[in-house]
């Protein structure tokens, strides 16, 4: 597309990067057809092509964001389905990140919106604060209907509380790390929300790696990857998180020789893989960020490269595999998780309309509960048509979101793999009525 930036505007590297992205868009409209919000709303302004146009106009004009533009950008899930579809290779993710930062700097949201966003940005990325808040949310659960009636924020607060798991998760014991000089070493991102909500996921990943004689190095200083705040346009906070993680991992790479940074939440994976771009103009961090991004991989990518022993006792459980947007669109990982599940003996079924988001999308389900709810119902409907025993996915957000709409247990892919390879049954299956009694002897090995 034609663009109209002045050379002064293009001197700003952010602007130059966005201009390049806009130039590559040919306005063919292909992306509209696979955009979840366009499917629901039927308005080009809530489609990628429309949003790209809004962003183009806003950036070219050097204008502060208007309420109209903010409305449509806020409705974007950042699911990146549009990037998978686009034949021209338009990097929508970097464009919308730029737009969100611009909105954060130039637009004043109303007081309740600011409060809600500040709450999320100050609680979710911090494990301890989040743990406390979760306690409060559990306490608040019975009051949800009341909350929903609070003017303006009510629906969104209720949505937040609804996402809290039904009980405070127990911390499972993990195998003690053994150190041996010749062992392969990796780090696993602990991050923020996931270890609090579902500690069983990383525990399962560790057991799988331990069986392959791979040591998981503890990197104490790491924390939230920054994705949550990045999607809210809080760029400075996101970059601060990124730098802290990079420092921690570079030390681990240089001193402990880790060969990979493994991520078990694809939402985080997309962001950590993007550190190299996010910090490209930071002279102190650009190179380190690139190194970190290059070593980052999803747990299923890593396991797929290992020679996991075949599982002889086929579990015969039908698994609906839900590919998180951050997995299939953000990281273009499609076949590895399904291949691993099949090799572990599960029957894997593809979900119809599988390219469409479940509505989780970071904190989207809290900020836009209405659209998120419609997307969840659509997703659950598509999954339940398959009549699976279990739903597997690779992202904590999807687990919580989909789990809130169906009685079928939702688990992380690695929990199933660990179980098939001799680990404990995933906690969600133990809780599922009917299922645990049928499969209690599995695996036989």
């Amino acid at each position: 597309m034609q663009t109209n930036f002045t050379s002064a505007q293009l001197a700003d590297p952010h602007m130059a990067a966005s201009e390049k992205i806009l130039r590559s868009c040919v306005h063919c409209g292909f992306c509209t057809a696979t955009c979840p919000t366009y499917l629901l709303l039927g308005d080009e302004l809530d489609s990628p092509r429309g949003r790209i146009y809004l962003i183009k106009d806003m950036l070219e004009g050097g204008k502060p964001a208007t309420a109209e533009v903010v409305k449509h950008i806020d409705r974007c899930l950042s699911c990146l389905s549009c990037m998978t579809t686009c034949p021209s290779g338009v990097h929508y993710m970097h464009l919308v990140d730029h737009a969100r930062a611009h909105i954060e700097q130039t637009y004043k949201r109303d007081a309740t919106d600011r409060l809600l966003r500040a709450l999320l940005a100050h609680i979710l990325p911090y494990r301890n604060r989040f743990r406390l808040a979760l306690g409060a949310a559990l306490f608040a659960k019975p009051f949800r209907p009341l909350l929903a009636h609070l003017p303006r924020v009510g629906k969104r607060l209720a949505a937040m509380v609804a996402l809290a798991p039904p009980r405070s998760p127990a911390v499972t014991a993990e195998p003690a790390p053994l150190t041996r000089a010749d062992r392969r070493r990796v780090a696993i991102l602990e991050g923020c929300a996931q270890p609090v909500l579902q500690p069983a996921i990383n525990a399962a990943a560790r057991r799988l790696l331990a069986r392959a004689d791979i040591e998981v190095v503890r990197v104490a200083e790491e924390g939230c990857c920054g994705a949550l705040v990045h999607h809210m346009g809080r760029e400075a906070q996101a970059l601060e998180f990124a730098r802290r993680n990079i420092d921690a991992w570079i030390t681990a790479i240089d001193q402990q020789g880790i060969e990979a940074i493994i991520i078990t939440a694809s939402g985080c994976g997309t962001t950590v893989k993007d550190y190299g771009f996010m910090l490209r103009d930071d002279p102190l961090y650009a190179e380190k960020a690139r190194r970190v991004s290059a070593l980052t991989c999803d747990i299923t990518e890593f396991l797929d490269r290992l020679d996991l022993p075949a599982v002889s006792t086929a579990p015969k459980r039908a698994v609906a595999y839900h590919s998180a947007c951050s997995m299939q669109h953000g990281q273009q990982i499609r076949d590895e998780p399904k291949r691993l599940l099949r090799n572990a003996g599960f029957t894997v079924r593809d979900v119809p309309e599988g390219h469409i988001c479940c509505g989780s999308a970071g904190v989207y389900n809290i900020l836009q509960p209405e659209i998120a709810g419609r997307l969840r119902d659509r997703k659950v409907g598509n999954i339940e048509r398959l009549r699976p025993d279990i739903i597997a996915t690779g992202n904590i957000g999807c687990i919580t979101q989909i789990g809130g709409g169906t009685a079928i247990p939702v688990v992380h892919t690695v929990e199933l793999l660990d179980w098939a390879h001799g680990g404990p049954m995933p906690p969600a299956l133990e809780r599922a009525p009917g299922l645990n009694s049928r499969v209690v002897q599995f695996p036989l090995a």
């Binding site: 040919v26 039927g42 034949p87």
Partner: protein, 478 residues
């Protein structure tokens, strides 16, 4: 850019903008009406982005009744209307004008009913072309016309442009696959045209509606024909040493009375662009390639392929490569159907749509290359060769006004070449604004006048999509 003129907006309408918007707001809920400048901006163009006009307002009605109410209102107020589907027109068919209300049918996106016994489906006009096939594919059916934009373009737009696609060689274009439409006339009257079967009694009004580029009314529903999926289908890639040889081979296959389901042409620049995107296994060491698809039972496919191979050998085919799996087939078509978008990775482009008799393909291909080179530009050719529907993509830099002018001039030369070679201006993309001023090269004044007289029966005041199709001067009134 500006070599194609738009009519001067009517100052009286612009002055009444607030009243007009208030009138529309009384008919539609806020989420169905776009009025702020920021938001209207996103509707200022379609896939011919070099031309842009900010509309007065955009209405996104949810059903036929709302479309009718908005049209009756606009008619009463003398406000122009530009119908819009998905806005993927390459001819600028959906580009607005400043004194017009865009009526978009994107919220009319449901499949209403499917009737396998009679092999029809009734759909709202805003459903995308591909979603019809997606819905009936599990039961072994499909909707045949397959524009490369089928993922996104709507049945409404397909009807507007009488769109075609790769597989139309065998199955016909939109007009051959639409059985009936529900249409809102300019004054808000709702009419049903056609029926449940091909060729209903009475005047063939459907033939008039399909391809009328939004100038006769707004289509809100359509009954489409469903076909049974063939037993098997297999695309085969044929690589040649020159574009002319590939063109001659096409002419010879058609000349021998063979009708494959699809016969697509790509020259070297197009092959390289598409292969980089789709990794479909296209041969990179040839100058031109044909994708020929055959279908039917295994024996039928073998028999047809044998005859095609025999002809291809006579024209010095260098590479013959059959698809061996469903995945390969999907990739081969993904590459072809993404051709225009993927071209966006290397340059801006305008896409021509002239059609010539297949016997003229080698000559026109050669002349096209010469014309574009004489303007100092590059060209990539990727098109529906079986029906002679050429799509030279003229590559240029849209941020450079001089190149824009050269690209347009080269495009006009190519379209004239097509007409002079016994063909026509448009195979499937429609006239829109893009080819409007070339209409006189193809049609005599008498022809054009007769066409406008038919048009005037539906819209005597030129309110419906008036900037398009007919040259701006010499228009006749009712």
């Amino acid at each position: 850019m500006s070599s194609i003129a738009f009519p001067t907006p009517d100052p009286a309408i612009l002055a009444r903008r607030d009243d007009i918007i208030a009138g529309l707001a009384a008919l539609l809920p806020p989420e169905c009406l776009v009025t702020s400048e920021d938001e209207r901006r996103a509707f200022e163009t379609d896939a011919l982005t070099a031309y842009r006009r900010l509309p007065l307002a955009v209405a996104l009605p949810r059903n036929t009744a709302e479309v009718a109410a908005v049209m009756a209102f606009c008619h009463r107020e003398g406000v122009k209307i530009v119908p819009r589907g998905a806005g993927t027109s390459l001819a600028g068919g959906a580009i607005p004008q400043e004194d017009a209300v865009v009526i978009g049918v994107s919220k009319l996106n449901r499949i209403l009913s499917v009737d396998y016994a009679n092999r029809t489906a009734r759909v709202e006009a805003g459903v995308t072309n591909l979603s019809i096939s997606d819905a009936v594919m599990p039961d072994g059916f499909f909707y045949a016309p397959d524009p490369s934009s089928q993922l996104a373009c709507t049945i409404a737009g397909n009807i507007g442009m009488n769109s075609g696609g790769a597989h139309c060689l065998k199955y016909g274009v939109t007009i051959n696959n639409i059985l009936g439409v529900k249409m809102v006339l300019i004054d808000g009257t709702v009419v049903d045209i056609g029926g449940q079967a091909l060729d209903p009694a009475g005047l063939d009004l459907l033939g008039l509606i399909v391809g009328s580029e939004g100038q006769l009314g707004i289509v809100t529903e359509a009954t489409v024909r469903l076909l049974r999926l063939a037993e098997g289908a297999r695309p085969v890639l044929f690589g040649f040493d020159s574009s002319e040889a590939a063109g001659e081979c096409v002419a010879a296959i058609i000349g021998a009375g063979i009708v494959p389901v699809a016969m697509e042409f790509m020259d070297k620049p197009a092959i390289e662009i598409c292969e980089a995107f789709a990794k479909a296994g296209y041969p990179l060491d040839v100058e031109a390639m044909l994708i020929v698809e055959v279908e039917g039972s295994e024996e039928e496919m073998e028999a047809q392929l044998a005859r095609i191979c025999e002809i291809a050998r006579r024209y010095g085919v260098k590479v013959v490569k059959e698809s061996r799996s469903a995945t390969e087939t999907a990739l081969i078509w993904k590459g072809r159907k993404s051709a225009f978008g993927a071209t966006g990775r290397v340059a801006d482009y305008i896409c021509m749509d002239g059609t010539v008799p297949t016997s003229q393909l080698p000559y026109v291909l050669k002349r096209t290359g010469e014309i574009v080179a004489s303007y100092g530009l590059r060209v990539a050719n990727v098109f529906h060769a079986g029906d002679g529907n050429m799509h030279p993509l003229i590559l240029y830099n849209v941020n450079d006004p001089a190149e824009q002018a050269k690209a347009e001039a080269a495009g006009n030369d190519i379209l004239r070449l097509c007409v002079d070679a016994g063909g026509c201006l448009t195979g499937e993309h429609g006239v829109g604004i893009e080819k409007r001023d070339l209409m006189r090269h193809q049609f005599s004044e008498v022809d054009l006048t007769q066409q406008m007289r038919v048009r005037a029966v539906f819209d005597g005041r030129w309110l419906l999509n008036p900037a398009k199709v007919f040259p701006l001067d010499g228009r006749i009134a009712a």
